[in-house]
Amino acid sequence: MAKSYVSATINGEQTEFLCETQQTLLDVLRDVIGLTGSKEGCASGDCGACSVIVDGRLVCSCLVLGVEAEGKTITTIEGIAQGDHLHPIQQKFLEHAALQCGFCTPGLIVATKALLDENPNPTETEARYWLAGNLCRCTGYDKVIRAVMDVAAEMRGETVG
């Protein structure tokens, strides 16, 4: 079986790759393109560690085929920071120590980005439900939620206490 040729915009750059049908977008990102920030936790859509944004929608890249990326615009964790400057979400995760082992962190940051793109002023309940598909076995989630609520306020330009 010949590999398929796929062309997509990944983190703002036109990217071309070859992949087999059964390779997921996560397989392609990590093993073909070398973007290893997205993590494989479960490979079944349960843990959210592989979260990416495809055409504005948050998805698990393990539940998307690489060939489906044709013509799509994709943002991965590598596309969140602006050059050498951390995105405010990344900065707040650091300040609040919203991570320990860090395996879930790329997915949580991408999912938080998608949340704040859609809803800049989420309630804590909305943030918790939005992030319910991102499993973290270290933090107990409280520090994550504090970071999310804090960065949301900061990005809205509100004074943070």
């Binding site: 859509g45 959210g48 979260s51 948050l58 539940l63 998608a114 319910a132 598909g133």
Partner: protein, 295 residues
């Protein structure tokens, strides 16, 4: 090296030809939230994947003849965001919205949930209760099939090899009509139904039920439509006597198995409890008392 092929046809005709001409197992891909898991686990070893999402109309929602037409592969997040659909069919929308995480909602579809044919599928009892019609396309053309005729057993459907669902039709709503869906799970999110129940009702000016459809999930090999439960609602208000009869009818229809999610006895009892709760929400919504979320 794998022999798995992929095609993303841009018309119904091309998709049907690919399915009809496939030499081995061909699978239709909508959102892929079930299919990719089954591929990865090795449970399914197809030779061809036909991605339907580039077919015009298969993603999107439109109004038609006072009702709604929902593209078969429309992601849950897009359905949830449709305010008019949500107002007319809150039960269908809340049921689809219960599937998986935000990430899964970015992909999961009504057609995938129906054709995966899990007895515990959340959107399916709501579609049964709604009287939704699946528009099925294949080599012989187009046919309209009541959704309850699609699943035949766990993981099996009545669709032929060359057929797939293009869209779902939800009928126009008369005045004082609404629906609701609840599932029971032992936590608040991210779980599979122990029991699910969907109910759609139409009331008259006095609050008497004039039409009803009741369905149960996860208590039989497929989601089931429970005519006996609908019959006890029709002609009555939702008083204590009606609720007791509804509970009994739901329990009588439930033929569950014992597994890690619940025992036969537990699921049977929950079927009755959920039917009462769902009926209360559907009646309240239909009489305009509330349009809030059921869960």
């Amino acid at each position: 090296m794998s022999s798995l092929s992929y095609a993303a046809p841009t018309s119904v005709d091309d998709a049907v030809k690919l399915l009809a001409g496939a030499s081995g197992l061909a699978k239709v891909l909508s959102g892929g939230t079930d299919l990719l898991v089954q591929l990865r686990s090795g449970r399914l070893k197809p030779d061809l994947i036909v991605d339907t999402k580039k077919i015009p109309g298969i993603i999107g929602i439109r109004e038609e003849n006072g009702g709604f037409v929902i593209g078969a592969a429309t992601p849950g997040a897009e359905v949830e965001a449709h305010a008019k659909l949500k107002a007319a069919w809150p039960g269908v929308v809340e049921a689809l919205d219960l599937i998986g995480s935000t990430q899964v909602q970015g992909r999961c579809s009504l057609a995938g949930n129906l054709c995966n044919a899990s007895p515990a599928a959340d959107s399916v009892p709501a579609l049964y209760a709604a009287g939704a019609i699946a528009v099925v396309v294949g080599s012989k053309g187009k046919r309209e099939v009541p959704v309850e005729q699609i699943p035949t057993a766990p993981g099996r459907t009545s669709l032929a090899k060359d057929e797939f669902i293009l869209e779902f039709k939800l009928p126009a709503r008369p005045a004082r009509a609404s629906d609701a869906y609840l599932r029971f799970i032992p936590r608040t999110e991210m779980d599979i139904a122990v029991v699910g129940c969907g109910i759609s009702v139409t009331l008259n000016e006095k609050g008497v039920c004039t039409a009803a459809r009741v369905s149960l999930g996860a208590v039989a090999p497929t989601v089931i439509l429970v005519q006996a439960a609908a019959d006890v609602l029709i002609g009555h208000t939702l008083d204590a006597d009606t609720l007791a009869k509804l509970d009994a009818a739901a329990q009588a229809a439930a033929k569950p198995i014992t597994d890690k999610r619940g025992t036969i006895e537990y699921r049977t009892k929950i079927a009755g409890v959920l039917a009462r709760r769902v009926a209360a929400i559907a009646f309240d919504r239909a009489s305009g008392k509330t349009n809030g979320k059921a869960h």
